[in-house]
Amino acid sequence: MPDLRARLFAPARDPLWGAVLAIALALLVSFVAIAASGRDALAGFGDLLSGALGGPGPLGETAIKSAVLVLTGLSVAVAFTVGLFNIGGEGQLIWGGLAAAVAGRLDSPLALPLSLVAAALAGAAWGALPGWLKVRRGVHEVISTILLNWVAIHLVHGWLVAGPLAAAGGGASISIAGTEPVSRAAWLPRPLPGSRLDLGFPLALLIAACVWFLLTRTRRGFEWRAVGASRDAAHASGIPAGRRICEAMALSGALAGLAGALLILGTEHKYPGVFRTGYGFDGIAVALVGGGTAAGTTLAALFFGALRAGATRLQLVGIHPSFAELIQGLAVLMVAAPRIFQPLLARLRGSSAPAASAPPVPTVQP
């Protein structure tokens, strides 16, 4: 079986164009869907655009959402490099958010950095576990991360936040349920008045740059990629493949945990009673559309962040904001099967890329 990256991205010999085409097609389908339901699709997309980019307020919303998606997307992309499919971003994000909410109660100037570190460590632990299970016990990471997501969701939401860590006097009503609020010192500062933009966005971009450097310019990154390309070959050339897998999964979990911290320290300021964000799962979409690279993933996160921010405006024309999820899902659907585009791409590029070099598409009827 070819390695994960080859299976996911090699068929799209031109990942950038594949992603752009996928997003364009997804937008087109959703445009038709809105129009078909008898609404003004042009006005809807106008609202979407102004809700994402029109002024400091909307731009701040886009930045907040993009920052989280950059981190969860990178989390998935880092796991891809060692050939693992980390579906556990949601669980790692939940533990990270909880750790940030607990550490953030410290009333000290160091509360913010300490909360971020706590979140990264919590996420890393929850991420390294499936890595270890894969290396030592041969448990497939797709299954273990799915299971660990639900363990995290139920343990944190159904027990810790509702019981031992619940704020005194809360509990009964959902709106005030959750943990005690974090101290003011742990809030992510908001430098711009009139916008909810916080330091999370530059922080996420900085982390993205570090991840890019780590993956492409360091010995460790090279070894991770070698393990991802072929675990056996890497092992044979002296790379401790098992340890590298665990390390990469720990970083993957740490990134998702930091994403949870951004949500808690940036906007929620406590661990709320209901905290189902879906950002962990969206990270998969972001990484896939971004071609599994740090740069591509960051770009995809900016796009989907803007989409999410803009979608809240769609309510004005009577469309549920979950519409953003639909577009995102459709884009992944299209990216998932790059072979759909192969003939189209070949034609676009004309004679420069003869269609004959495209992998043969089986002609068997399903």
């Binding site: 797709v142 299954i143 159904g158 019981g163 799962f281 999820e325 899902g329 992944v332 089986p362 399903p366």
Partner: protein
């Protein structure tokens, strides 16, 4: 006990769907999405026709339609099966919420749908079906020639192809059947248990079905047994928080996390022979070597 027979059918059907697809060699992470489509279509069908049975049929067909997308992407276009399933879940999440809003003008719940009739013990026909279907499925998979072919295609497709089995059409059929089962499971949630569609459905039941399938070692009886066991844990937790004033203890989460943690433990410790079908998740290229 009554609660178990109420909670189990959605899990049982979806878990059987997982077994059918994965024994034929196609990973099905999309169970959650197929259940969601099934639950919504069943409610919509039941509301518009007035018959919960037609609603159930709609649920199964919607699940099959969603599975059709999975089959097309992962078999015809050889997309990664995990990605294809995830995409399906994402689309189901967005599209069904969108449809709920567009058709019934509500972001939360559908109007009440005519529900399946209950017998004098309070069970729907689907509760009994959940007891019988796994046995029939087991017999079919173990002894029928078609069942043997399904297993062959999941273990060693190239060998099966050599013996004249058409791998891709058979796999596609199994994925579609998997969609029908998952769709029915979702349909039981809406027209069987609640009597309406709720925007949160199936609330992770598709993933729990996946866990049941793994816990049951990819066998119909094992998966169904695990589904009943998980449903029992769920029922026990509700009973407990009801009768013991355990609400103060707030231990629901621990109970709810238990099935997943147990499944992981079984996998990690390798209790018994826990092995996925050999060709599970491996794309089949009819022109390959």
């Amino acid at each position: 006990m009554n609660l178990i027979l109420d909670f189990a059918p959605p899990l049982v059907f979806a878990a059987l769907g997982g077994v059918l697809s994965e024994r034929a060699g196609v990973v099905n992470i999309g169970l959650e999405g197929m259940m969601r489509f099934g639950a919504f279509a069943a409610a919509a069908g039941s509301i518009s026709t007035g018959s919960p049975w037609l609603g159930l049929l709609c649920g199964g067909l919607a699940g099959a339609a969603a599975a059709g997308v999975h089959a097309l992407l992962s078999l015809r276009f050889r997309a990664d099966q995990v990605v294809s399933g995830i995409a399906l879940n994402l689309v189901a999440l967005g599209l069904v919420t969108y449809l709920l809003q567009a058709v019934y003008g509500s972001p939360g719940v559908s109007p009440p749908a005519p529900a399946l009739p209950r017998d004098r013990y309070g069970h729907t026909a689907m509760a009994y079906a959940a007891l019988i279907v796994p046995v029939l499925f087991h017999v079919w998979l173990s002894y029928a020639p078609a069942g043997l072919r399904v297993r062959a295609v999941g273990e060693h497709p190239r060998a099966a192809a050599t013996l004249g089995v058409r791998v891709l059409p058979l796999r596609a059929a199994c994925v579609l059947g998997s969609g029908v089962l998952a769709g029915l499971g979702g349909a039981v949630l809406s027209v069987g248990i609640l009597g309406q569609f709720d925007a949160r459905m199936p609330a992770g039941q598709g993933f729990m079905a996946l866990a049941a399938m793994v816990f049951g070692k990819w066998t119909p009886l094992g998966a169904a047994g695990a589904a009943f066991f998980f449903a029992a844990a769920d029922a026990a937790q509700r009973q407990l928080s009801f009768s013991l004033h355990a609400a103060d203890l707030r231990l629901e989460g621990v109970f709810l996390a238990l099935p997943y943690a147990l499944t992981l433990l079984v996998l990690a410790l390798g209790i018994g022979r826990t092995r996925a079908p050999a060709a599970d998740g491996v794309p089949y290229d009819p022109e390959g070597r």
